[in-house]
Amino acid sequence: MNILTIQNLIVKRSGVTVLDISELNVEQGRILALIGPNGAGKSTLLLTMAGLLKPSQGEIYYRDMPVDSSVSRSHMRRSACVVFQEPLLLNTSVYKNVALGLKFRHLSNAEIKKNVEDALDYFGIRALAARSAKTLSGGEARRVSLARAFALKPQLILLDEAFNSLDPPTRAKLIDDLRHILEETKITAVLALHDREETLRLAQDVTVMAGGKIIQSGTTAQIFNEPKSEFVANFVGTETILEGTVQSSSEGLTEISVAGKIIEAVGDFLPGQNVYCCLRPENITVSPAMPGKISARNVFEAKIQKIVRQSFFYKIFLDCGFILVAYITVSSCEDLGLCEDSTVAVSFKATAVHVIWRERQDTDISAQRPVQG
C-alpha cells in the first residue's frame, strides 16, 4: 500500500518550475532515498510531501485520499514531519525542545513526558534532557532534532540531509542508530541523501533526481547495478552490489550466501544478517580455465553475458549465478580470446569484498541484533 502517491506534480517558485514529477510512490513502511546533485529538487520535494509547500499543479494522495484543500494539506502536515539539515533547536532545554510538537497537540503532561522520554531513549540522549540546547555539540543537537520528530510518532518522516557537517564517526554512529530506530518503529521514511554509502546503509528504494525531475526509480540494488544512464552511473558509482545473507563468520572471515553461491569476505557479522557485497570491477580477474592454487578466496565459473567496449578497456558482464562486472584491458581481452557466451573462471579476493549491512530485514529476524563489523 502506498502512503503517498504523487502524480504530474509541478512546483514553481517565483515563476520558475523547480519540480516536475510525473509519478512517485512512497510505499508504507519502506525507506526511500532521494539522491541527486545540489539543486535537484530534493528539498522542495520533501517540503511538498510534508504539506508545507502548495504545488502549482498535480495530484498528491495521502493514504489514497486526495490532498487538494487547506484542510487535507494541514492533515498531511500533521501526519508527516520534516527534519531539516540544520538542527533548528529552540533556545531552551533539550526536554522542552523534544516536547514542542507534543505541546502543539495539547497532550497531557504525563503523555508528553512518556513520549519525550521514549524518543530521548531511542537516540540515547536521555542524560541530556535538562541541558540547554545551546550547549550541545553538533552530533547531540542533530539527535535532539531527530528525537523531536520521532516523539510525535509520525506516519511519515522526511529527513533532509540530516547527517551533513558531522564528523565521520559521529555520522556513522547516528546512521546506525537511525537504521535501528526505523526498523523498530516501522515508520515510513523519505531521506534526501547525497552519499552512496549512506544510501546503501539506509535505503530500500532509491529515486535519482536531477533538475527537478526523476531520472530513475527502483530498489537500491536495481539502481546501483542497473543504472539507466551515464548520469545515474556516475552518481551511484561503478561497484557491483550483490544482496546476500551471512551464513557463518569466524576469525575475521565471513561466508555470505549470494544467489545460492558462497562469497567469502573479511569482517565479523552475525549469521542470518542481510548484507550487501560491493565489488569494484577493477578487482575482478578473469582466466580462461579454473586456476589451480590461488590466494584469492573466491573463484567461480562464469559465462560471459555481454562485452561492452569502453574507451580503454572492455566492460564484461559475467553470469556466475549472480551478475558480476569486470574491467579487462583491450590487450588482455584479445590475448585470452574472450567472446560472448564463452565460459571462464572469475576470481576476486576476500579483501576486495566491501560488506555493508542492509537496513530493515525483509524477513523478520529482529531477534538477532547486528554487531559492529
Binding site: R77, C81, F84, P87, L88, L90, N91, L100, A133, L136
Partner: protein
C-alpha cells in the same frame, strides 16, 4: 570651577537625602516613559512580527519607513501631537494637551518604530527554515508565531530597552505636549532644561546624574542581553 564642584556636592546631597521634589520628578519620568514603552511594545512587536512574516509587494518600502521611524526627531513628534490635540485640532475634544497622557502618547509614538524595527529584524534573523520546522511539528499559525516571538525574546528585550532609553532621555516632545508643569508633567529632562535656564545648577546636575544612572542601567542590561549566545 567652584560653581561646578559646589553643584556636584549639592547634587549628591539632594540624591542621598532623597529630596522629595527630585524623587517626585524621577518617579513621574519612570511612570510616563514606562507606560509609553509598554504601549509601544504591544504595537511594535505585533506589527513588526506581522511584517517580518508576511510577503507582499512594497514590503521593502514598509521596512524602510519603519527604519526611518527609528530615528524620528522628537520635536517633529511633539509638533504633530500638539497639532492633533490642540483645542481646535482633530482630537481637541480629548482635552489632554499639557497632561501626562499627552506625553505618554508622544513618547509611545517615538518608541514604537524603535521596538517595531528591532523586533522585525530579530524575527527576520531567525533561521529561515525554523518557521517551516515548527509548522511541520504540527503548530497552528498562531502557535508558530508565538514560538517565534518567544525565540527572539532576547532581542525583543533589547528593543524594549532601546525604546525606553530613547523616550526617557527625550526632551523636545515632552516639553511641547506636557508643558513642564510642576508636580504634574515635569520630568527629568524638562526639569533639567528649566533649572539650567534658571541657573540652579545643583538641581540640574542632580537630575542629570539620575538620568545618566538610568541610561547606564539600561545599557548595562542591554549589553548583558546581547552578549548571550544562541543555540545551534
Amino acid at each position: 570651577m567652584e560653581l561646578i564642584i559646589q553643584g556636584i556636592i549639592k547634587a549628591f546631597e539632594l540624591i542621598i537625602s532623597l529630596d522629595p521634589e527630585v524623587m517626585g520628578i524621577t518617579w513621574l519620568s519612570l511612570k510616563i516613559s514606562g507606560t509609553a514603552t509598554f504601549i509601544s511594545l504591544f504595537i511594535g512587536v505585533s506589527i513588526g512580527t506581522l511584517v517580518a512574516l508576511s510577503n507582499f509587494s512594497g514590503k521593502r518600502l514598509i521596512i524602510s519607513l519603519i527604519n526611518t521611524g527609528m530615528g524620528l526627531p522628537p520635536v517633529v513628534v511633539g509638533l504633530f501631537v500638539t497639532i492633533m490635540i490642540w483645542r481646535s485640532g482633530p482630537l481637541g475634544f480629548l482635552e489632554i494637551l499639557y497632561t501626562p497622557y499627552a506625553m505618554i502618547i508622544a513618547q509611545a509614538i517615538i518608541a514604537t518604530p524603535i521596538v517595531m524595527g528591532i523586533s522585525l529584524a530579530s524575527i527576520q534573523n531567525l533561521p529561515p527554515n525554523l518557521r517551516l520546522q515548527i509548522l511541520s511539528l504540527g503548530a497552528s499559525r498562531l502557535q508558530m508565531v508565538w514560538v517565534l516571538i518567544k525565540e527572539s525574546k532576547l532581542p525583543l528585550l533589547a528593543a524594549v530597552m532601546a525604546g525606553f532609553g530613547g523616550v526617557i532621555s527625550e526632551v523636545g516632545a515632552s516639553i511641547m505636549v506636557g508643558g513642564n508643569i510642576k508636580g504634574y508633567s515635569r520630568v527629568l529632562t524638562t526639569a533639567t532644561v528649566m533649572e539650567t535656564g534658571k541657573g540652579n545648577f545643583d538641581i540640574a546636575i542632580a537630575l542629570g546624574i539620575i538620568l545618566l544612572i538610568l541610561a547606564f542601567i539600561v545599557n548595562l542590561l542591554l549589553t548583558q542581553i546581547q552578549q548571550r549566545q544562541h543555540p545551534r
